[in-house]
Symmetry: C2
């Protein structure tokens, strides 16, 4: 029940109208019996700073930050976690006594979403598609998983090279950028493939970050960070070739859960039953 | 279900932690199937203006205003209804495209709460206890009910005289202020008594705006705007003498419903079943 005493949390972004975060968080708030409520605010770039001031004035307790504010928001907070400093992006703000601290939960969401599939990463060659913020989060997560060689592919090679340089400095990862012509070979050499690009996301169901699926096999574990559609063209094709596939819905859930842990300062967790119910709820919000 | 697309409404006040408005409004929002959510913000006097700016920036759709901002808020809005201009107070703000209009729903809440008891007011002598903002709203409502003579009693006589002067100018009401020594006589001469003071409100269960109940009889209809406790000492004593009694819970409900109608621009109404359920919900929030 929402009461006058309920703490207020929100997601900000632009656009934000299709964000699943309110449904996700209010489900968890209810299940955990927290006295809180979670809403969404559309915040254009030009008013980000004023909005953060508003949140302090109105006494909001926490904010999730999504596109296009994840990087910019770091300029306006009072302090940042080491992970935020490393990644240069934040998705979780905790507000206490007019003080805003920035956190990032995407890498933890990725790690927790793996469950027992974490083992698939140990000493495994991994191919990462994309070199944006999501790739950064996945590289951060990989650094905790002791993978083998990491291949990094991006349509614009230079962007991949810059990210690889950065990541080599920070993490103990053996990263190699690859060109399009080397993609098939990299797929064959990898046992894990992670798509961090938005190619194939609704409504572009027919697009895929890869065009040639002939190198996919039963040996592959293919993770697409996209959760809408639940099965992208990439996952569909990979599954058809016998690969094990996973979409981004669990990462969405677990990055949200990690935000809630930071806000509540409590080690909350979802039971298998709750996780299943929550997946169903989110899928039905996505329209199937 | 709260979604990213849900419109946000809130009550502001200081203190606001015990406001029933979130429970009241979220019940109605659910019952009416509206895509909205209602929260509370504690807003100190010093930040009222900045908060209103924040609501525009964040795109809130409507605000209920409670103590101590009902009068002050009128300075900061873009336009006011005739009722707000008359009463000098607002409890409902509608926000559209950065434009804030002020409304007041308390008189309508009082009127609608009467139901068929409206008839008791026609040509009836009425005694009003108190001369503050709530008395103003009740006088406004009375002006729609064609009552008989209106007695106005306030501990500080001068305040009653000022309000009576004002009300005579605006409404076609026959108002007479009375002193404490004339109270018993006024009670005897009245058939309706309305308490608009906060005397007897939780936690002051043993207090009452009247001390001598000997003039109360079965002829009286006694309305106490207080809803916590559900039966004030005044109502308890009046009922004991055979009077018909009514507390402020229905007025709370109907002023809220009227706010929702203004925000939604829809003629919403509660069924008897919903009204009963809502009363039960609010009573249980009040702890009995």
């Amino acid at each position: 029940m929402i009461r006058a005493s309920s703490a207020l949390y929100a997601v900000i972004g632009d656009p934000v109208g299709h964000s699943l975060s309110p449904v996700l968080h209010n489900y968890m708030i209810n299940e955990f019996g927290l006295n809180a409520v979670y809403v969404a605010f559309r915040v254009p770039k030009s008013s980000l700073r004023r909005c953060l001031d508003s949140f302090k004035i109105l006494g909001l307790s926490g904010i999730n930050v999504t596109v296009p504010h994840k990087e910019t928001v770091c300029q306006y907070v009072d302090d940042s976690s080491d992970e935020v400093k490393t990644l240069g992006a934040a998705n979780t703000l905790k507000i206490q006594n007019d003080h805003i601290s920035a956190h990032v939960t995407d890498p933890y969401g990725f790690l927790e979403s793996l469950g027992t599939d974490k083992e698939r990463f140990i000493d495994a060659p991994v191919l990462i598609l994309g070199a944006g913020g999501a790739a950064r989060s996945v590289l951060f997560a990989l650094s905790k998983l002791n993978p083998g060689k990491v291949f990094l592919y991006n349509r614009t090679l230079e962007k991949a090279q810059i990210l690889a340089q950065e990541a080599k400095k920070i993490y103990d990862l053996d990263i190699q950028t690859i060109e399009q012509t080397a993609l098939s070979s990299a797929i064959s050499q990898s046992s894990v493939i992670v798509n961090t690009t938005s190619v194939g996301m609704s409504p572009d169901y027919n697009k895929s970050p890869l065009q040639d699926f002939s190198a996919f096999s039963q040996q592959h574990y293919v993770y697409d960070l996209i959760y809408n559609p639940g099965k992208t063209r990439l996952l569909f094709k990979a599954e058809h070739r016998g690969s094990k596939i996973k979409n981004g819905l669990d990462m969405l859930i677990f990055q949200g859960l990690q935000s809630l842990r930071i806000w509540m300062d409590e080690n909350l967790s979802l039971s298998e039953k709750q996780l299943k119910e929550l997946r169903g709820l989110l899928r039905s919000e996505l329209g199937g």
